[in-house]
């Protein structure tokens, strides 16, 4: 097996055993980027020199057996919404072209402290707004399983990198499904932790009350390892929780025997591909065979989650994106006769169509006279969704469903129909609004394309979601399926 095909846990053992060096490993992954990067277009920026420098430092640590951590020497990709000191960080937007932050995100600092190696910044939908990565301000990403298909979004670059061997693991961000949906569509594991579990400091904001950073990995163990490294309170993020972080590996293999797993009937939505539904039903049966008790539950307000999301997220985005006016950093159009005209030219030219659409939606929803009807109403819906989850979790330990109603679709298939595109996230959005956590784990192949099983657990019970996902993974071979691109280089 090639080095870039392996998991964090395997590679960690090889590094510790001095079977390989981090420089060798990093070089192997960089070679794979060179080999297939033109096909996936997963990266916006490859930080080759930084990676090799960090790999050397990691090797020093490994050689000296000094503070060796599970991620020491492991090459990781970072979604471009994460700030890294002196590394161009654009959030996939032209408007941040040329911006190099003078500081790093807290998660980045934590990975640095672990001795991880940064491969570069992965492509994404502009400001993480999208479900196919086609809204990138630079170029679309291609699914390593079928290059004419989208990898999902918005963390499509991170997903494609992990699925193609261009990274061992990656960080993504999830506001309405942006980690889980691309993970499902590229056959990897992706987790959205509970809001507040991971610091958002240094994450270029889309919707502040929903954004959460999470791991995108080859398997559940790697997901647990990466989450372990980034979770925990950060004094720089007042919305990060001070609850202690449990040892996620400790309970990972406890199995589902005796667990109560709920299947929300509302998650089998109209428009779901029959083959996807069949795979999920099979997955549920498998978990039942593992000893879990399965029961149907109801999350009655699921149907209004999507509309509420498309009020709250754009409203926050319209405010978060106001700072991009061209006067202090990033793109500046030039040529305006006064400051207002300059603002308009910069924002007209710097933002893509979807971002502008959401800024307009959000500005409208917050406007005087509309606020009560839209924003306030959406917040009330959010409260109902939180309540739905609370009620369901009185009966069951975790919830099961599909991650996305379909497998990866063709590039261009939905770009003309924003609402059809929004429907991709219909089963992932409730977890963001409901302050719970969710993980997508490979759930099989439909016509040769991966689909994901989603496990949702109560807020701050990531260990429960991981444990169910691990039990499923251990009983299946789905996670061992490799994309043609990853295999092709073998």
């Amino acid at each position: 097996m090639k080095l870039f095909q392996r998991t964090i846990r395997d590679l960690h053992q090889m590094l510790v055993d001095r079977e390989i060096s981090s420089v060798e490993l990093t070089a192997a992954v960089l070679d794979q980027i060179d080999a297939v990067g033109d096909k996936t277009k997963a990266y916006l920026l490859v930080t080759r020199e930084l990676a090799l420098r960090q790999a050397h430092a990691a090797d020093e640590r490994l050689r000296a057996k000094r503070d060796v951590r599970p991620l020491t020497g492991i090459p990781i990709a970072l979604k471009d919404v994460l700030c890294v000191t002196d590394v161009a960080s654009t959030a996939g937007s032209k408007i941040l072209g040329g911006f190099t932050p003078p500081y790093s995100a807290t998660v980045v600092e934590r990975l640095e402290a672990e001795g991880a190696v940064f491969l570069g910044k992965t492509n994404c939908d502009e400001f993480a707004m999208g479900s196919s990565n086609e809204n990138s301000g630079y170029w679309p990403v291609h699914n390593p399983w079928a290059l004419d298909r989208v990898p999902g979004g918005s963390s499509g670059g991170s997903a494609a990198a992990v699925a193609s061997g261009e990274a061992i693991a990656a960080l993504g961000s999830d506001t309405g499904g942006s980690i889980r949906q691309p993970a499902a569509l590229t056959g990897i594991v992706g987790m959205k932790p509970t809001y507040g579990r991971v610091s958002r400091y240094g994450l270029i904001a889309f919707a502040s009350s929903l954004d959460q950073i999470g791991p995108m990995t080859r398997d559940v163990v790697d997901g647990a390892l990466l989450l372990q490294a980034i979770a925990g309170h950060d004094p720089r993020d007042s919305t990060s929780s001070s609850r202690p972080v449990p040892d996620y590996l400790a309970t990972l293999a406890d199995g589902v025997k005796g667990m109560r797993l709920g299947v929300p009937k509302e998650y089998f939505v109209d428009g779901m591909e029959p083959a996807v539904e069949q795979s999920i039903r099979d997955a549920i049966r498998l978990l039942e065979q593992q000893g879990a008790s399965i029961e149907e539950v109801s999350l009655p307000h699921s149907d209004v989650a999507l509309p509420a999301y498309y009020i709250i997220a754009p409203a926050e985005a319209s405010s978060n994106l106001a700072r991009y006016d061209g006067t202090r950093y990033g793109f500046q159009a030039g040529g305006g006769r006064n400051i207002i005209e300059e603002y308009m030219l910069t924002r007209q030219q710097g933002f893509g169509a979807e971002v502008k659409r959401r800024i307009m939606l959000g500005t409208y929803a917050l406007s005087s006279g509309y606020y009560d009807a839209y924003y306030l109403q959406a917040q009330k819906v959010r409260t109902l969704i939180i309540e739905d989850f609370k009620q369901a979790f009185k009966k069951v330990d975790a919830l099961l469903g599909a991650t996305s109603p379909t497998a990866a679709f063709e590039l261009g298939a939905k770009t003309q129909d924003p609402v059809a595109m929004y429907l991709n996230d219909i089963i992932t959005i409730p977890a963001n609004l409901g302050n719970v956590c969710g993980i997508s784990v490979p759930g099989g192949l439909v016509d040769g394309l991966p689909i994901g099983l989603q496990v949702i657990a109560p807020g701050f019970q990531e260990e429960v979601a991981l444990r169910v996902a691990y039990a499923f993974e251990a009983a299946t071979e789905f996670h061992n399926a490799r994309s043609p691109l990853m295999g092709a280089a073998a």
Binding site: P102, Y201, G202, P235, T239, A322, R323, I339, S368, Y371
Partner: protein, 484 residues
Amino acid sequence: MSAIATRYEVVVGLEVHAQILTQSKMFCGCSTDYLTAAPNANTCPVCLGLPGSLPVINRRAVEATIRTALALNCEIPEFSKFDRKNYFYPDLPKGYQISQYDLPFSRNGYLEFDLKGEAKRCGITRVHLEEDTGKLLHEGAIHEAQASLVNFNRAGVPLMEIVSEPDLRSADEAREYVMRLRAILQYIGVNDGDMESGQLRCDANVSLRPVGSPDLGTKVEVKNMNSFRAIHRAIEYEIGRQTEVLEAGGRLAQETRGWNDARGLTVSQRSKEYAEDYRYFPEPDLPPLDVSRKWVAEIRAGLPELPAARRERFMTALGLSPYDASLLTASRPMAAFFEETVRLGAPAKTAANWILGDFSRLLNADRKEIDEASIKPVHLQQLISLIDSGAITGKMAKQTFEAMYGAPDAGPALEAARGSTQISEDAELDRIVDQVIAENAKSVADFKAGKAPALKFLIGQGMKVSKGRANPQRLDALLREKIS
């Protein structure tokens, strides 16, 4: 004017912005020194609003806001939150200001003051907390400038907004309200009250309505008033201007006008006919705050004596007039100076007259605070005692005071005054002693009979005759010599 004034009632409400004297900014660790630091030296990703940065609340700023609200008799709700006020401006790095909208830290307070012996009360709608903006510097006049520079050192400095009810009825009342408010802010140590540097800023909403009308007239917001005098003049001007418009049968525009101090008039800045929509919504980066009753009680317990209480004490315990007591307590350093002078032995009324008269006149001319002057309470007390003993005349005292004020140290000027007036020449002292002996035969006899205290009495008489100018040691010696 008087005929007009009977037909219209003046309605004024004030919005006072006061920076809070914290070490660090509202939402980051940067220093709040924006006056002396090099441009943009005190900035960081948070106060520059760089992508991905997040605010963290400065607890001391919240405490100062609650302290202010308590001093203004406000209610402090148990639940509060921050909101975003969205608008584009180059001095606003995030494109929104973190402020408070519907759940401020406090509401429903009042401020009591006294105007020409009449008690007034102005309602306080709310005191809320927000962040200050950066500062723009235009190359040339604002509308013609080819470039503008921005300094973000001030961006994120904690700023309180103290909003009054439209309870003020004249420019005098408005000025008095701001003076009392400023005194309170100084007393509780949240703001130095410097209006010129913008540490304390005041906007006035001015309208007129027919006397007896319950409805409010069209409101004009007046900005850019940088002193008490400017507040008074601007409101007076605005009353006159609005009266003229209404008298001529015209209609007032709802607008913002800027006070031009040099020209002594207000100039229209922008129309407010279409209210700006700030699209307020709860700040998602900051969790709502539970303001515990225990914390509020602690802050209340830590409040010092407030100006109103001090004023009352100056009137009842020291016998000052309401007017003098008001003026003295309007400034915390001035009240402290006065109290110390009295404690050292000066009569209260005399000390008050000096502080509010010559001293204030000199300080105002120099735009100085009393605690910056070289004259200290001990100097004033000694000067007053020289006058009271008759050692120097009132006219000399005034000259001496100005000399003391002008010197870097007031001591030598005071000593010089004391020294220069003493009579030490033997011829003159002889005459005084002779007069005392002639007029006090009984005491002279007593002293001769061995009653020592009689000599003290005779020296006192000598001081009296000389109007305090005789050197008492020399009197002592001469009396002994002549009686024995």
